[in-house]
Structure formats: C-alpha cells, structure tokens
Symmetry: C2
C-alpha cells in the first residue's frame, strides 16, 4: 500500500510546517499570518485554521516536529573537539540571517504564547539530551570526572553564546565559540560541573 | 530658580518614560500603544507622537534614561559574595512577574526594532561596566589573577541564568545563582577568563 492511512494528512502537515519555517524566515514572527502559510503550502486556509488555529500553534507544531529529528552529534574523538563543534554550530546559525531568523522568531513567540513556550522548552530539552552524549562518551574515556553532569557541560558551552546573541548583543565568531567550549571543558575537568 | 530651563520638558519625559515602563509591565511589548502611554502619563498623545513617534522609540528612550542610573553594585568583601549577589539579583528579577516583564519586553522589542536593539546593547554594556567593578576590586585584593577580564567574569556569572530564562526555560533559584557565580569564580581563579 503506497497510500498508507494518514498519508495525505501527514503530507499536508509536512507542507504546512515547511511553509511555517519559510514564512518565519521571510517575515519574522510579527509579520507571519495563517493565510500566508496556507498560500505558501498550497493548502486551503480553512484547513490550516481548523487544524492549527493560530500562528503560535503553527510555530509550536513546527518545533515539535523537528524536536526528534536526527541531529548530527559531533564525534571528533575528544570532548574539546566535540564541544567546539557544538559551539561553532551555534555561531554558524546565528551569523547567517537565513538560519537565525527561526530561533529568533521562536524566542519572540515563546514570550507571547504559552503553547510556543512549551514547545521551545521541549525542543531545547531534546537538543540538550542529544548533545550531552558527547560528554557521556568523554566520561567513559576518562576525559572528565565520572560525576560530571553531561547536560550542565552543554549548558555552560552554549550559554555564553546565547547571552551575547539575545541579551548583550555582543559579537560572536569562531574564537568566541572556542573560548566558550574550552571554558566549559576546563570547568568540567576541575570538577565544577558535577551532578 | 526652581523652574530651571528645560524643566517642563524634562518632567514630561520622566512622566512618559515612567508610563512606558508601567505599560510594558501591564500589557507587554505587543499590547503597548503610544496612546496608552500618553493617557497614563497625562500628556497629550500628539506630544508623545511628535517627540517619540513609536513604541520602539519609547522603549529605547526608557532604556537610555535608566542606563546610567546609579546601580547598587554589591561590595560584600569577597568576589564570591559579590558575584552571588549579582546572580541572585538576576534570579530575583526574573522570578517576580512584576519585574521580569520589562526585560522580557526589551528582548522582544530588540528583535523587532534596530533602535530598541541599540538601546538594549548600550544598556547591557553599561551594566557590565558597572558590575565589573567587583572583579577589579578582587584583582586589587589578589583574589583572582591580575590579567583576569572583569567583564568576562560578569558574563560567565550571568549567562547561564539568562540562558535558562530566555532559551531553555529551565527553572532558576538561589541555588542556580550560587552555582553560576561559583563556577565563574573558579574559572577566573584558574586563569580561564584572562584578557
């Protein structure tokens, strides 16, 4: 059966959520409308209104759908290399306007809508769990103390970058990423990031 | 002369900017209007439109006006105590809805408006410079290496808290504040936060 149950509905959802991301990039959170998402997806707007209702629900569903997508967790052989790769990916996203528009819109949406806020929280929890694998492997290799909190190492790596991006609006580049990664690593090695 | 030149104009500005903060707390960035600010300030709306024009300019001017206000920089006698006080103040603001509304609105506004973004950047740069005094004093006391970057210690103290607040939506409390402060202090002592 090539036409599995739910196939058409799943395709509509995929098209609408792709259109949601594209509209976020083009117009931002405040410029986005349900009508424009429906137009771009080639779906009747009443379908989108009935199934999602508001822009906030569209954004939340788009986040939910991408939450569990396989994410290429780095595996460079050292925790330093892996943390630098994670930090550099954050810098690469936020120095590319075509990619930074989505997380910027998500932060805005989460400040306006509890549904979007919950989806953002779940999204970052999933990303933390995925990224923490690099620390778990490093514990097994004996690179950091056995009681290191893997998620806390990820937080310490990413937090200084997001702080510059969303709060202080200070520049970020590869050197900022490496500094954040190396500081987190040193803190972990010194036993400061224990569970 | 009790009625100094510019006195009335300065009073109108103070009233309008107070009203801007109050409206931000009550309605948030998206709910705020120039009319409501004018009404609350008891100023004719054409005056507010002529002088500020938009909500974004009102927010930016409110930030500019509070940027250089004296801020009670902690002076507990140790860098640990001072950094814990700074981190605890962040936690106290963001666990009080009446106080967190303003910085949340400022982050939203800065994502929409370049004028608000510039004001936010200048505001945090000024706060960093003020708070960094606690590190400068600690260098003079010999608590941390002489080449420690004072602002970087402040960033490392605050970043994990703002990351939880705006990005991952994870809980913060006094223990989170102390952990952030102590981790930043240990990193500084280990020479990781040098200029």
């Amino acid at each position: 059966m090539s036409n599995r149950p739910g196939g058409r509905s799943a395709r509509v959802r995929a098209d609408v959520l792709d259109a949601t991301y594209a509209e976020l990039v083009q117009r931002g959170y405040l410029g986005m409308t349900v009508e424009n998402v429906a137009d771009r997806a080639g779906v009747h707007k009443t379908t989108v209104y009935r199934r999602w209702g508001t822009v906030d629900v569209l954004i939340a569903d788009a986040l939910d759908s991408s939450r569990d997508v396989e994410w290429p967790v780095p595996d460079t052989g050292t925790l330093e290399g892996d943390l630098i790769a994670i930090a550099t990916e954050v810098v690469d996203v936020f120095t590319d306007p075509g990619r930074s528009a989505v997380p910027e819109a998500v932060v805005t949406a989460a400040l306006q809508s509890s549904r979007a806020r919950r989806a953002k929280k779940d999204f970052y929890a999933a990303r933390h769990a995925q990224a923490a694998v690099v620390v778990t492997r490093a514990i097994q290799r004996g690179e950091v103390p056995a009681d290191t909190d893997p998620v806390e190492v990820v937080r310490q790596t990413c937090a200084p970058l997001y702080y510059r991006i969303f709060i202080t609006d200070e520049p970020i580049d590869r050197a900022t990423a490496e500094h954040a990664a190396r500081t987190a690593l040193a803190a972990a090695r010194a036993g400061l990031l224990a569970t």
